[in-house]
């Protein structure tokens, strides 16, 4: 036996594939809800996983999920910046496109609208909790803010939703 019996890292194709099957959709949903655009969400999700692959030696399996979410969030910012510069597509164009095409039923449309008017920081913390599944403390660590600040951001998110639903 020449092989070293160590914990398989993300460089292992099977581990990598399993990770994608487990969290690829979550990341896609996260980015979609944050930007209301499937193309951007897909691109960000794909790039996050490619970056994970390139750095598979440095990222332990247990940390891979938060890693791809962080990379995905950051990459989309770059993608949007690049797209805005080169193609002069604005966020609003994306919004309009997707609202009619991809989110058919009213309820979904409403939620997408609410998310589009929600303050960015609140939306981010809210989605980290709801989609990424992080606890407040984990969000605080990830964003390098206090738990109180996370509570505040999510409060705003909740109140935005409640106010809009009651309308």
């Amino acid at each position: 036996m020449k092989e070293k019996k160590s914990h398989p890292d993300v460089c292992n194709e099977i581990v990598y594939k399993k990770l994608f099957y487990n969290i690829g959709e979550q990341l896609f949903q996260f980015l979609f809800l944050k930007y209301q655009n499937t193309e951007i969400a897909r691109e960000g999700m794909q790039e996050a996983f490619i970056t994970l692959w390139k750095n598979c030696k440095k990222v332990p399996e247990a940390k891979a999920k938060n890693y791809v979410f962080t990379v995905g969030r950051n990459r989309v910012v770059d993608i949007l910046r690049k797209k805005n510069k080169h193609l002069s597509i604005t966020n609003e164009d994306f919004l309009n496109e997707d609202k009619t095409e991809e989110v058919s039923d009213q309820k979904k449309q409403k939620m997408n609208y609410i998310l589009s008017i929600m303050p960015e920081a609140s939306k981010e913390a809210f989605l980290m909790n709801r989609v990424q599944g992080l606890k407040y403390k984990e969000i605080a660590e990830e964003l390098e803010i206090s738990v109180k600040a996370v509570e505040k951001r999510i409060s705003i998110a909740l109140q935005t939703i409640r106010k809009e639903i009651e309308k």
Binding site: H86, K108, N129, R162, I165
Partner: protein, 303 residues
């Protein structure tokens, strides 16, 4: 908006208490006020997601990203590349033999050719083959410049002549290419005899040889990558990769680099030109600019 009960909602979202407990802690009225909001946040919109399709897409992009040395590239191109100047070659075959049938494929287009004995040739983009139709019964000889995949009917010895090497077979499928300054042959079925650089090698199915490494290696594809509409590279000079992209996509790429860089990876021919360039650049940490619809410029990241 002030809500003194919002900490209960936070406890719920933070998975400290369940919905029943939320109900107990809040008055009926308060609970009703939050109820639909909680329902909403438990059921956020989900766009359609085909995990298999997405994973496949990812795999394609993954292979193009730089392969680290510990990941041997499995799908090795089945290519025969010949070591002489190609223009000289055309002169030899097209200039001296007037009755030769000569077929040239154009940029970004592959041609499918039937030889007189029903043997088939798939000509890759920017390639040329020539053969003598009248003499075919006696001698099955094809002159190749560029790259081609052969599916040969059984019969007399079938020869592919190139300035740097000769490939001889009976019935078989094999790939021959003649580009730039590298030389390799891959046999897919049957047996192939290869003569080059004073050497004679017999290849069995799944074996490949090239003049850079000079030893037989195994390939695990059933057909060459370009027939699968794919190009792959193993530590290939970037200029070679760029030339291939230019040829497949019929575009121009200007290289503005001081150092030579090697690329390992693959791309599919149906990808958009810009996507291919983007992926190559990203994997090598380079920048690119789109100068117009068919011209790109690649430069180092610092510029």
């Amino acid at each position: 908006m002030k809500d003194k009960n919002i900490h209960i909602i936070h406890q719920y979202l933070n998975r400290e208490i369940d919905i029943e407990e939320v109900k107990r802690k809040l008055s009926e009225e308060e609970f009703q006020a939050w109820k639909s909001t909680l329902e909403e946040v438990e059921d956020l919109p989900k766009p359609d997601f085909d995990v298999e399709q997405e994973f496949e897409r990812l795999q394609q992009k993954k292979t193009i990203s730089k392969n680290k040395s510990e990941f041997p590239f499995l799908k090795i191109a089945a290519v025969l590349i010949v070591l002489l100047s190609t223009s000289l070659f055309i002169l030899t075959y097209n200039g001296t033999d007037q009755d030769m049938t000569s077929i040239t494929s154009s940029v970004a287009k592959e041609d499918f050719i039937k030889l007189p004995d029903d043997s088939q040739v798939r000509l890759n983009a920017m390639s040329n083959i020539a053969f003598n139709q009248d003499n075919w019964e006696d001698e099955r000889i094809v002159a190749l410049k560029g790259e081609a995949y052969f599916d040969v009917e059984e019969g007399k010895t079938f020869t592919v002549e190139t300035p740097n090497g000769r490939v001889q077979v009976l019935g078989t499928t094999f790939n021959v290419a003649s580009r730039n300054s590298r030389f390799s042959v891959t046999c897919y079925t049957g047996k192939v005899k290869v003569n080059f650089s004073d050497r004679e090698v017999v290849l069995e199915p799944g074996q490949s040889i090239d003049n850079a490494k000079q030893k037989i290696r195994l390939v695990n594809t059933a057909k060459p990558n370009w027939i699968m509409k794919r190009s792959s590279f193993e530590s290939a000079p970037l200029a070679e990769v760029i030339a291939d992209i230019e040829k497949q996509k019929n575009i121009k790429i200007k290289l503005k680099l001081s150092d030579s860089i090697n690329f390992t990876g693959a791309y599919n021919h149906d990808m958009e030109a810009e996507d291919i360039i983007d992926l190559v650049c990203r994997s090598l940490d380079l920048n690119y600019k789109k100068l117009n619809s068919s011209t790109f410029e690649i430069s180092s990241a610092k510029d």
